[in-house]
Point group: D2
Chain length 307, copies 4
Amino acid sequence: MALTGVLRPGFAQVRVLSMEDALVHYRDRIGLNVVSTGDDGRVYMKAYDEFDHHSIVLRECDEAGLDMMAFKVENEIALKEYEEKLLKEGIAVDHIAIGEQPGVGRRISFVAPTGHRFDLYAEMELSTKGPLVKNPDLWRTEPKGMKALRFDHCLLYGSDVDGTKKIFEDILGFTMTECIKEEDGTLIAIFLSCGNKAHDLALVRHEEDNKLHHVSFLVEDWTSIRDAADIITRYDISRDIGPTRHGITRGQTIYFFDPSGNRNEVFSGGYSFYPGDPTRVWEMPNVGKAIFYYEQQLNDRFMNVVT
Amino acid sequence: MALTGVLRPGFAQVRVLSMEDALVHYRDRIGLNVVSTGDDGRVYMKAYDEFDHHSIVLRECDEAGLDMMAFKVENEIALKEYEEKLLKEGIAVDHIAIGEQPGVGRRISFVAPTGHRFDLYAEMELSTKGPLVKNPDLWRTEPKGMKALRFDHCLLYGSDVDGTKKIFEDILGFTMTECIKEEDGTLIAIFLSCGNKAHDLALVRHEEDNKLHHVSFLVEDWTSIRDAADIITRYDISRDIGPTRHGITRGQTIYFFDPSGNRNEVFSGGYSFYPGDPTRVWEMPNVGKAIFYYEQQLNDRFMNVVT
Amino acid sequence: MALTGVLRPGFAQVRVLSMEDALVHYRDRIGLNVVSTGDDGRVYMKAYDEFDHHSIVLRECDEAGLDMMAFKVENEIALKEYEEKLLKEGIAVDHIAIGEQPGVGRRISFVAPTGHRFDLYAEMELSTKGPLVKNPDLWRTEPKGMKALRFDHCLLYGSDVDGTKKIFEDILGFTMTECIKEEDGTLIAIFLSCGNKAHDLALVRHEEDNKLHHVSFLVEDWTSIRDAADIITRYDISRDIGPTRHGITRGQTIYFFDPSGNRNEVFSGGYSFYPGDPTRVWEMPNVGKAIFYYEQQLNDRFMNVVT
Amino acid sequence: MALTGVLRPGFAQVRVLSMEDALVHYRDRIGLNVVSTGDDGRVYMKAYDEFDHHSIVLRECDEAGLDMMAFKVENEIALKEYEEKLLKEGIAVDHIAIGEQPGVGRRISFVAPTGHRFDLYAEMELSTKGPLVKNPDLWRTEPKGMKALRFDHCLLYGSDVDGTKKIFEDILGFTMTECIKEEDGTLIAIFLSCGNKAHDLALVRHEEDNKLHHVSFLVEDWTSIRDAADIITRYDISRDIGPTRHGITRGQTIYFFDPSGNRNEVFSGGYSFYPGDPTRVWEMPNVGKAIFYYEQQLNDRFMNVVT
C-alpha cells in the first residue's frame, strides 16, 4: 500500500444545542444524508459521496463544540503500533469498544497537548447509502443543499500547538504542508496532511484549549461556493466570511455557523500535496492574506469565535 | 510518512515529430513552462503549479509515442527495495545515471509486460519556476493557455494488462480503484492509484504493446474544460472528444491531439480515492457510459488511435 | 419605452404523448413550476424566474410537436397595428378570446409561410409563483432539476424561411443577428431578435413545414450545462448532443428529448445583441462549426429529427 | 425595430491621474484593447467583444472622475427628437461636433439634475478590432486579464435623483427596474434600463453632485469573478468588496479601484429585464442585503468613496 498508517480523517463528533435545528442545517442545507440514529439520540450522517457508515456524528448537549475528531488507520497492526508509540511518549490511551458508534470498530483515543481528543480506528462498515460501485452513476439520489461531497478536515484552536504537531508528525506520520510563523519562529498556525490533501487537520495557537474553529466539507468547485452562499443568505444562516479564497491551501471557501454556533466551512479546490513539496511559509505581516487572500485582513470573529 | 513507496507520477517523456510545433502546443496551448533544453535537443517542461524540475520531456523523433513514464519514490531505500523485488520477479532492471535528465537523480528502469518502459527515481531538483513558497501568491506569473496545473497520469494500451497490473499492485503498492470487466472476469481496463487520486496510471487491453493512449493534465474545474475547448477550436487543434465526463473516475474531460498525433487530455474533478474504498466495477454492456458518461458510447478513434 | 412592438417570446404550447411522463420531465428534470391545469387537461408551467402566469403549455395529444409559439407585445395598440399590417400583407389573422388560456388576454394568431402558428398578445396576469419583488431574495423556493431560468426561444423548421423572415423583420420589427448562407445567397438558417438577445426565434430551411426543432430554456452558466448533462444521464433522458458550444450565438448548450420526442435545449451565455451590430454570416463549408463549435460537424439526428 | 430611441450605453470618458498607470490597469488587468490615441492624449479603448470604435475613453487630468457617459440612440431622427424634448423641459443642450472623438458622429450633450453630463449620439464607426463576423470564431485574439466582454453601465451619485430619473424615464424612455426606497417614498437608489438589461444606468442619492461611483464591465460568469479577484490580489489592485452578489439585479460582482481611485466593477449574471416585469422594491432596513446579498451590510467605503 502506498498510503500507510493514518489514511485520512474519518469522522467528527459535534455537539449541538438542538438536534432538530441541527438536522435542518446539516441535512437540508449542507446536504448530508442521515444514516442512522442511536439509542442515545446521536445522529450519524455522511456526505453523499462517502462510502463509510458515517463521517459526522451529532450529539445534543447544552454546550456546542467538538467531542472528538477520528482518523482511519490502515489496519489493526497500525492501530497497535500507534498505541505503543503514544504510550511511549507518555500519552494516555483510552480504548473505545467496537460498536460504541454503529458500524465502527474498536478505537483508541488520546487527548493531544492542545486539549483535543482524537480517536483512531481501522474498521468502519460501509453505508448502504454510499456511492454506487457497479456501473456506478454519479450519484445514487440527487445531491441537495450545498451538495457536500465529504467531511474533509477540522481546524482546531489550542495553546500547545507544537506539542500536538509533534504527535501528528512523529507518531502519526503527518507532514506540515504550510504554516504561519512569527519572526522568532513561533508557529501560529499549522496545516497537516496524511496524504495528498493540502490539509487533513489544521491547528491555530490560541490561549484556550480544546476549541473547535470549524468543521469543513468539500464541494465540487467555485460555483458550488456561490450556490452555498445563496443558500446561506436565503435561509438566514449566520455567515462568517466568504465566498473568498485562502492564501493558505488556495482553497475557495465560505464560512458560516450551524444553529448552535459551531463554525462550518464548505470549500473547493486548492493544491494537491505531493510528499517532498516544500513547506509554504507565511510571515505574520502577511497573515491576513494567508487566511483570506482577497480581503487580505482577518476579521475579529474569525479569530475569536470558537466553540 | 503516510505516503510511502511510490509517491506519484513524476514525468513522461513524449516523442514528437517536430519540436517547433510541439512547443507551440505544449507551451502556448496547454500552458506549460519551458524549464530547459538539453544538448541533445530534449525540452524539459513543467506545469506552473509543479515544484520539481520538470514533468514533461519532449524528444524529437520520427515516430510519435511515449518513451517512458517515470514515478517518484519515497527515497533511495525504496528505490533499492523495488529493484530487488523486480529482479526477484524476473524483471530486468536498467540503471539510468544521475543527470541523464537535468536535475534528476539516478533512475531504475524496467519494461512492464504490456511493453511500456517505466522509470523510478527518488530525487529531482526543484525548478526555479515552481510555485512560490514564502507568503506565496497564487501563481508566479499569470497562467496561460489551458492553464494546466500538473501532469497527472497516463493511459497506456497493451496486451498483458494482468501482468503489468501485478507489478504495480504487488511490487509498487498501487491499488485498483476502478475497472472494466468482461463477463468471464477478463479485465479490459484498469485504473491504478498510488495515493488519493482516482488514478495515477491506467491501462487498457489492446493487441499491440507499448502504446500511448494519452498523457493527461489537471486543470481547475469544468469551466477550465470549456476554456480548453475554446482554445482547441480557435487554434485548429485536432479534438478527439469532449467536453464531457467520464463514468470512470467521474472526471470532467476533453481529449485532443498534439501536432504529432499524441493524444492529450485535460481534466478536472472526479473523486478522491481513500484506501479501503470499494473498487468500482463496470461491465462490458456499460463500457460506453464508463468511458463517456454523457455520450454513453465509444468512438472508434478513442478506441483505436494510439501512438 | 425603449423596447417597443414585440417585447419577447411569451409562451410555447407543446404537444406531448403522455402528460404524466411530460410532467416528470418538464417539472422534475428541467425544473419548471406547474402553475395550473385547465379543464381540458392542458398544463400551464413557468420557470422559477418568470413573472407571467406561464411560459410553457403542455397539451396531451397523439402527435408530438408545437401547437404555437406566442410573443408578448407592448400593448393593445401594437396588437391592432400588427393585425392591420398582417392583413395588408394578405396574411389571415385569427382571434383567440381572452381566457382561452388562463390569465392570458386576447390573442391574434397567424400562420407564417413556414407553416408555423404564431400568436401575439399584450396581456398576461402575473403568476403568484413568480420571483419575489419586495426585498426580493434570489428565489422563492429552491430551484430544482436543471434550474431553468426562463423559456427562451424556439428553433423551427420549414421551407419558406424567406417568407417567415419577411414577416418577422418587416412587420414585427425583428432583426436578423446571424445566419447561415449558401454561396448563391440562399439563407439556410436565420436567427431573429426582438431585443438584446442573440435570438428570440430561429428558423432552418427544411422540406417539411411546421416542424419544431427545439424549445429552449436559459440556465445560469456553463456549470449548469454540466449539471443538466448529469441529470440527463442519471435519469436516462435521451440526449442529442452536448455539452458543447454553438458557433452561432456562442451559447453553451446541451440538447435532449422529452419523453414524446420533442427536442429541448438548455443553454447559457452567448453574446448580447445591440442594434446596429453587424450581422454575423456563416458560409456552408463552416456550417458544422456554426452549429457545434467544438465538434465542427453536424450529426444526422440534429438535422433530421423534428416533431 | 423593436429597440427604439436610446439603444444602450455607448461609452464613458474617465479621468485618470496617470495615463501610464491607467493603461496597465484597463488594458492588462481588465483586458481592454487600446484602439487609438488622440492628439490630445486621450486613449480610446474597447472590450474584445464590442463592435463600435470605443467604449472607454481615458483622459489624463489632475482630478479623477467621469467626464461624461454617452448613450447610443437609434438614428438621427431620435437624436433630434431628444434635443427638442430636452429643450422643452428647459434643459440646455450642447452640440459636440462629429469627430471630437475618433469615429463618433455628432453628439448632443446635457447636464442632468444630479450634475452629470450625458451625451447622445447615433453614429459610431466600427472598430477593426471588433468581433469577427464572417464564420466568426469566439474571439479574434485570446482575451486577457479579467476578459471584460463589454462596458456595461455606470453608477452615479448626486442629490436630485428624482430630477435625473424624470429625464431618463419621460424623455429617454428608460424603465426603473429596481429601487431602494425610504419609508416616506424617497428614492435612495434607482436602476434604469433601456432594453433587456437589469440596468444600463444607476443613480444613488448623495449630497455631492456629479460623482462617479463606478464604471462596470461585464464578464462571462461567476468563475470570471474569481479570476478577477485572483488578478486583483496578485497585482496589488485596491479591492473594495467581493466576490459577492448583489441583491439588486442579482449580479455576481467584485469592486476595485483603478490607480487614480475611480471605482470599477466586473460583474456577471443577474436577471434579464422584460418590459412589463414588476419593479423590485427594497426598503431601507434591507439596504445591506440589497447591495451585498451575502454580507447583508454596507461598508463605509462603498457608500462614501466616489470620484
